[in-house]
Symmetry: C2
Subunit: 358 residues, 2 copies
């Protein structure tokens, strides 16, 4: 299997631990090493290094180089972020230029998967359907009425594919309110959209030709120059002109092609906030539901997430539901339930002329 690892994000949702120059995918967020390496290790059973194409931001090339050493993976650097449609298109033409016509698995580099076996089985099932020209997406079996994710609805009739069933997709839906999220969970034919797709390079490029013709023209231009000196300059010229658009909005919501979903129950999380990491790591919490990394002393604390630096001690007394993140340059103390609002802090820093801390 050929894997395109999408490592282009520069999110600040894990600020101050994640920074512009070292976003989440390059960090050890879950305690299993940098998420990019974890993603490579997970897919390692299906794809050898030379079958892996990592698409990342140019500003993170050195960071990735330091992590990857001499591993013979392919690296394509985007000059700037333009969301997932250009990223996947670039991955597809790069794979085609390497001579690959088989299905590609497009995998975000910064997700957590608790059950890699289930995940890999779903990818293999998806590969079979994708080989026939379909776009296949993994549908994460929901475990709670989550309002933070988009959903994929399946049709009722299953198609056999490998060991796992796959279904025609009936619709993609935006993040629901709590009432609808509860209904989705109860009805059983809705899955979380994890942004994981499997399709051949030809399918991806054809779809882009149909629905995103400007992107298609750009990709055609770039493809000719792969491996030449003009590649980087032309890539930058093309990307500068592109509008950012996601593969979901640009293609999936419009395509008339057959689209399949393979249900996958693999203890997945997009680890989208400190609170979601806290949820994920329930096994690491103490009896008072505190989650502690680093050197800390907690007295009478409950439900708090304290992440210290190696040497510096963090002492906590009587705090509840609190998030404490200590880094060499900054310290964050927040209500854990407000961790999705860390962007407000990041915006505040920008306004205060402290962009260097982001």
């Amino acid at each position: 299997m050929i894997a395109v690892i999408m490592a282009g994000g520069s999110g600040t949702r894990f600020w101050p631990a994640s920074r512009k120059r070292k976003p989440k995918q390059f960090m050890d967020i879950t305690g299993n090493g940098p998420m990019l390496l974890e993603t490579l290790e997970r897919i390692g059973a299906l794809a050898r290094d030379r079958e892996i194409i990592i698409v990342l931001g140019r500003e993170h090339r050195d960071e990735a180089g330091a992590l990857l050493g001499n591993r013979p993976v392919h690296i394509v650097a985007e000059p700037m972020g333009r969301n997932t449609a250009p990223c996947m298109g670039l991955g597809a033409i790069y794979a085609r230029s390497l001579g690959y016509a088989d299905p590609l698995a497009f995998l975000p580099a910064d997700h957590f998967v608790g059950d890699p076996k289930a995940y890999l089985e779903a990818l293999q099932a998806a590969e079979e359907a994708a080989r026939r020209g379909s776009i296949v997406t993994l549908g994460i079996v929901p475990t709670r009425p989550e309002t933070g994710y988009g959903y994929i609805r399946r049709e009722s009739k299953a198609l056999e594919a490998g060991n796992l069933k796959s279904y025609r997709v009936s619709s993609f839906t935006e993040k629901p309110d709590l009432e609808n999220a509860r209904r989705y969970l109860a009805e059983g034919d809705y899955f979380w959209n994890a942004g994981i797709f499997v399709a051949t390079p030809e399918t991806i490029i054809d779809e882009i030709n149909t629905y995103l013709p400007d992107l298609f023209d750009g990709l055609v231009q770039i493809e000719k120059l792969l491996g030449t000196e003009q590649f980087e300059t032309t890539l930058e010229e093309v990307y500068t002109q592109l509008l950012p658009i996601s593969f979901d909005h640009g293609i999936m919501e419009k395509t008339e092609r057959e689209v399949y979903v393979v249900p996958c129950d693999c203890a997945w999380s997009d680890v989208g906030s400190w609170a979601s990491l806290y949820e994920l790591r329930s096994a690491d919490r103490d009896a008072q539901q505190n989650l502690v990394d680093g050197q800390a002393l907690l007295i009478d604390c409950e439900g708090s997430f304290v992440r210290g630096l190696g040497q510096r001690l963090v002492a906590c007394l009587g705090i509840k539901n609190c998030l404490v993140i200590d880094t060499p340059e900054t310290l964050l103390v927040a209500d854990l339930d407000r961790s999705q609002d860390i962007r407000d802090i990041v915006e505040g820093l920008k306004k205060a002329g402290k962009g260097a801390l982001i």
Copy 2:
């Protein structure tokens, strides 16, 4: 007036900003400079430097030296802390050896006084009564039903002394419960015991002779050696044998001498905890009642006290009633209402073998 500044404490109530090697009296807690210097400046209108005797712990002699430079104050270093009775006895014999027979003002080095004029007037009134052989204490006019202080009850009939009335003391009482504290406040003849005493050296030494004979014997031994090479060694021998005892328990609760209280309404605080400092600095708080020192960014926070280091930014999001104290070696995050329990953290550090952080 001769002042004995009692600078011997090694409290940890302002941990982690205060440390064993640099307790509160050597720190800038209120923003007006180190509390010891603030105390000297306050008493400066009544006592010249050479009329000031500072009693401090031997381990803080260098710290004090750095603060005081070449100022011609007298410094007496206790080899170890034995509470206020030995400290005041040592101050008294030291003053006597300098030839002073006039009343001494015994002043804690780590208190806040918002109205120094009222404070100095009360000390002068106390001096007059003390000159006749009485022990005089300043009674702080209570402004709230405080349960954290001991109280002094006065008799009803006032004696004129200087510009201020003074009263015979009817009793000293321990820290009350809230109900009694409310009653004390309503009745109007109770004052906070600030541990500020005025008495002649002779009065102090006589009282010690009567109620603390072991201490008296020790002091007599020490007095002979003042200014000789054996002084330090003998002082240590004597102190090692002494039981710690406060002047309140050892003398004031037993004495049959006339004891007076001079009411003093001087915006006083013993600044005994982070919460009391937060209370004190109401003028420095923002509209959401946050008190911020150093570089910080607060979003949606209320009633919190955030003290950052100079350079390191502290970002706070959605916290309420929280205490955040950042120092180079440790970080404290606590419920502000629990700040009197910081000793639990200090004890926890000792148990965890991290005494170096205290």
